[in-house]
Amino acid sequence: MRDVPPNPSTSLADRNLAASSSSRRRQLLVALAATALAACVPLGVSDVYAMNVMILTLMYLALSQSWNVLGGYCGQISLGHAIYFGIGAYATVIVYLKGGISPWIGMVVGGVFASWIALALGYFCFRLAGHYYTIATIVIAEAALLLVLNWEWAGAALGLQLPFGPDSWATLQFGRNKLPYFYFVLALSLLTWLIAWWIEGARWGYWWRAVKDDAEAAASLGVSIFDSKMAASAISAFFTAVAGGFYALFVSYIDPQSVFGFQISLLITLPAVLGGIGTLWGPAVGAVLLIPLGELTRSYIGGSGSGTHLIVYGALIVVISLLRPEGLVSLFRSSKPARGAQA
């Protein structure tokens, strides 16, 4: 006798509120459980290569989720997120090398700086509609790559090398044991997921999705289209840069091509596209599938930079867009999603 029939006297508002908050709570529990589960995985894995792949997977998960904030929820498709990734990587390393400042602070500095850049670029680019915006992001990221390539003080084309130091959480330097990196990036992934989760239930989240679906209708309801895009862009850039800072510490050597290159922009975008744009779980599903697959094909068939892994990516995207244009997560809700009131 546990299933009490719904009380007809409760109002629609009460039922709808209850349904939406229980659905959100469920999502949160799943995310926490998934994180706890992921935290246990390294206990059974000692292989360094496997550990590297897992760390990269989680990093791209965090990156793609950050991208999703702007691209998925606000509908502004950026193919130039490498600029924020690169800014984060360079800021973290430069602040540490030239200023002797903790990389923890460096990552935040990089994040804040990337947000400013995002706002400055947004000020001009958000006047462009749809595809023009996307093209502008590609061009600007390429321009940034060229600038850094010629920036002598920051190592120009040679890049920057972090000095080897003792293993320490203070400097986030770990020579052989990669486990701390795993936990750091796992926490970062959870954080970006929580940001997306928070956005879904927040004022900005409703506004952003309205802007994505129909900007003119959103404006007619009092939503500021420009402010929405700017806010989404700044948040997205911040976390992309933090992940860029993490990457620099993880590999301890960066050069312009490896952090500002177009392939980074693509790898940031693809997991969300593959998994499902504008969904909570799309970037996670996409990254867990795509990144290990890319690493495996690169090491087993790709070899000498022939780019076989890119062919695999391409083929996957084609197949997904033909069979599941809404992304892989749509497989899990073939019927109607369990949101709102079922009255």
């Binding site: 629609l12 129909d214 007619s220 309801l221």
Partner: protein, 242 residues
């Protein structure tokens, strides 16, 4: 006489080779339902969009509660109490019905929780409560029109602009629509509606305003206006040429 809620002063709008609105001045009193009618190409939509802020007039002014809002963007107009619907329905299809309305109610509510509560109340008002959890894209087209109304109402407007909300409805649905518009008016909301179908507008509105070839040719009680020779001529052509 009470102060007019909305005034337009000598609104003129030129498209490249066409004067779509020619010197239109109109006062709308609080609580009124005004029907904006006229044959195809009369300039109704242009005038409607100028009031909503989607178009800037070539010359002339729009005043709301006494202040000049001619240069105000649509989002700003919504904040001061002017809401609209669209001729072609524009639902937010990635969201469910309740969420669509929340986008509107957030304008006046402090938290998204309060906004959801307010949105549900509006949905019940437009008789769409049972569809709160449905994806907006899955609604039928009369339901989508109700959703647009709910969204606009959720912003708590003083003036509601309805752009052919009855278009494409069956007679039964249109009847429900008429009842709904009456209930909206009873909330004290002033309404300007553009409508094609005369049988729907005439019994509903307090005043019919007729545009023809960009000019305001008649304004008055529906019965008066339908007997006006200028209006008959506009719809049917000049008697001498008939």
């Amino acid at each position: 006489m009470t102060e007019a809620l909305l005034r337009t002063r000598s609104i003129t709008h030129d498209f490249t080779a066409l004067r779509a609105n020619d010197d239109i001045s109109l006062d709308v009193s609080p609580g009124e339902i005004v029907g904006l009618i006229g044959p195809n190409g009369a300039g109704k939509s242009t005038f409607f969009n100028i009031i909503a802020g989607a178009l800037q007039p070539t010359s002339g002014r729009v005043l709301f509660e006494g202040s000049d809002i001619t240069a105000l963007a649509p989002a700003e107009r919504c904040k001061i109490g002017i809401a609209r619907t669209f001729q072609v329905v524009r639902s937010f299809d990635s969201m469910d019905v309740a969420e669509n309305v929340i986008v509107g109610s957030l304008l006046r509510e402090r938290s998204s929780r309060e906004a959801r509560r307010a949105a549900c109340d509006v949905l019940e008002f437009v008789e769409l409560g049972s569809r709160a959890g449905t994806r907006a894209g899955d609604l039928t087209s009369p339901e989508k029109r109700r959703l647009e109304l709910a969204r606009a109402l959720a912003t708590k407007p003083k003036l509601l602009l309805l752009d052919e909300v009855m278009a494409g409805l069956t007679p039964t649905e249109a009847q429900r629509g008429i009842e709904l518009v009456k209930r909206i008016r009873s909330l004290g909301i002033t309404i300007i509606m553009v409508e094609h179908v005369m049988e729907i507008v005439m019994p509903l509105v307090d005043r019919a305003v007729v545009l023809d070839l960009g000019r305001l040719i008649a304004s008055g009680a529906p019965a008066e206006v339908t007997n006006d020779p200028k209006v008959i001529a506009a719809y049917l052509g000049e008697p001498k040429r008939a």
